[in-house]
């Protein structure tokens, strides 16, 4: 699962993707969302100490790992997957570039949910290319 949040933790974008050809039922989706949101305090701690953009592994659950990434303007990415760190880092950097292109739209108000179709499509492509085994 992939989430983009603002500085005040308002969700801007959310993408669910399937791992290992499991179908997710709604209970697992809820669990995934809960796990991601509950790792936000660790995210904040790492934010204060680190100067980097990619915050590496924040938390580890039974099967999945949660990775964090911050953009320069304080938007937060959260990725929950079982892939390696390198792949997730590449994914986050590409997603960051695409997000900046969405931001550049003068008609897009900063802080509103992202509804651009092309952004959605690009993220799906990225997930298929990078995050699938």
């Amino acid at each position: 699962m992939f989430l983009i949040l603002t500085q005040e933790d308002n969700p801007l974008y959310e993408k669910r993707f399937q791992l290992k050809k499991q179908t997710l039922n709604s209970q697992q989706i809820l669990n995934a969302q809960f796990a991601l949101h509950s790792s936000l305090d660790i995210f904040d701690e790492k934010l204060k100490t680190s100067k980097e953009l990619f915050l590496k592994e924040i938390e580890q659950k039974q099967d999945y790992k949660i990775y964090g990434y911050v953009t320069s303007s304080g938007l937060r990415f959260l990725v929950m997957t079982d892939q390696d760190e390198e792949k997730v880092k590449g994914f986050c950097q590409q997603a960051h570039e695409q997000l900046i292109k969405v931001l550049m739209n003068p008609l897009y108000q900063i802080g509103q949910p992202i509804v651009s179709f092309y952004f959605d499509y690009y993220i799906s492509q990225l997930i298929q290319n990078k995050l699938n085994p």
């Binding site: 100067k51 980097e52 960051h96 900046i100 931001l103 900063i110």
Partner: protein, 173 residues
């Protein structure tokens, strides 16, 4: 449009074009709000902060910058690299006001936008620059209030310098 590379620099725009565009914008505001100077200045600051947030993201991407957590480093980045992207040269100086730990000055002689505007007018493009700075600091997590002043120097420059005064709130850590 979405497939263009963000990392390649765009060619610079014409100064006349930009100043024409900006002067038309100021005239629009004047027509709309008349003599309500505070609203006009606020609108310019809002526009500035929108521009500032977006430009800050792009500049950070291009310069491969990591985030800054300290105030002074952030200010140095703004004075050097960011100002260069905005106006083509670095800001002239960054100083700390004596006896006050949280106040800093950014001084620029003859900034681009203010070249043809007299400094006594109550509406000024300096508000736009203030808006840009406010936007940048707001998203990097620092609380700051910014004002500007014109100060003439005893040395041989013909026009007064523009000074942006940044007052930071007390930060923990």
């Amino acid at each position: 449009m979405l497939e263009r590379n963000l990392r390649t620099l765009r060619p610079e725009t014409n100064y006349c074009t930009f100043s024409y565009l900006f002067s038309e914008y100021m005239l629009l505001l004047k027509r709309k709000y008349g003599n309500d100077y505070t609203t006009i200045n606020q609108k310019m600051e809002q526009l500035g902060s929108n521009v500032g947030i977006r430009l800050y993201e792009v500049v950070c991407l291009r310069e491969r910058n990591k985030r800054e957590t300290k105030v002074l480093e952030q200010l140095k980045f703004i004075q050097g690299i960011f100002w260069k992207h905005l106006f083509g040269k670095q800001a002239d100086s960054l100083e700390r006001i004596k006896d006050k730990n949280n106040e800093y000055l950014i001084r620029d002689e003859n900034p681009l936008l203010l070249r043809y505007v007299s400094e006594e007018s109550p509406i000024s493009p300096a508000n736009f620059i203030v808006g840009i700075l406010e936007g940048v600091f707001q998203v990097s997590g620092f609380q700051v209030s910014i004002t500007y002043q014109f100060k003439s120097d005893d040395k041989q420059s013909y026009y007064p310098h523009t000074i942006f005064i940044l007052q930071f709130e007390d930060q923990q850590n």
